[in-house]
Symmetry: C2
Subunit: 104 residues, 2 copies
DNA sequence: GCACATACCTAAGAATCTTATGTATATTGC
DNA sequence: GCAATATACATAAGATTCTTAGGTATGTGC
């Protein structure tokens, strides 16, 4: 995933408002046309890290007998989402220059 | 650099024919409009790895009293260069889908 | 009831990059 | 002439991020 996992998660939360881990992995699979299969070993530690960095709110909900953890962006998280997307766009533009790819 | 260093090196060698390490770092700086500053700690180990994987030819040349190591693609390296560029394009397309970016 | 999907989690190891350091020669500015 | 900078190679410690592999448990479809 080349270091873009945080960017993806922040963007999805910005777009959807509120998501839980498993839901994020399914959404990424769907949006990427099955090309990105998020592994749990990457997903959950990253969510915990984003939370620890103070960018996410977490709410636990009981669905039947199971606990589901819903994540959403707080204010800091919102500005981080915007920033990460901008950084990624700039990264793509730079790579196009270096790899001599036509902007299409 | 998000895992794109090999791709960049292979592409530059494909494009320029023959380059040495320091020259590669300067070319990347130039093409990226100073946005990518390749560090030697990343560059040289990667060159050695590409060589060990059997994708590069190496020729040593004496410039004054110094030794310069010129790298070029062999056949395997040429097909790897093409493949890596294709993979990167697909990666960008996938990211555009996931991040809801307009193809421009 | 058994397979599969849902839903969370962690830990070991691999890969890649940054930072720091080392060595040495060549060139440029004053 | 000499000091600073540029050229040119290299390695090693540590950080980050990801893969692989394992663990636990509930819910659903046939």
């Amino acid at each position: 995933m080349k270091g873009t996992l945080k960017t993806i998660i922040l963007h999805l939360l910005e777009n959807e408002g509120r998501m839980y881990g498993y839901e994020i992995s399914q959404k990424v699979k769907e949006l990427s046309l099955d090309r990105i299969q998020l592994t749990e070993g990457a997903l959950y530690p990253t969510l915990h890290k984003l939370e620890a960095e103070g960018w996410l709110n977490v709410e636990k909900e009981h669905i039947g007998r199971r606990v589901r953890k819903y994540y959403s962006l707080n204010k800091k998280g919102e500005s981080m989402a915007t920033q990460k997307i901008e950084e990624f766009k700039e990264f793509m533009d730079t790579m196009k220059l270096v790899l001599h790819l036509q902007p299409k």
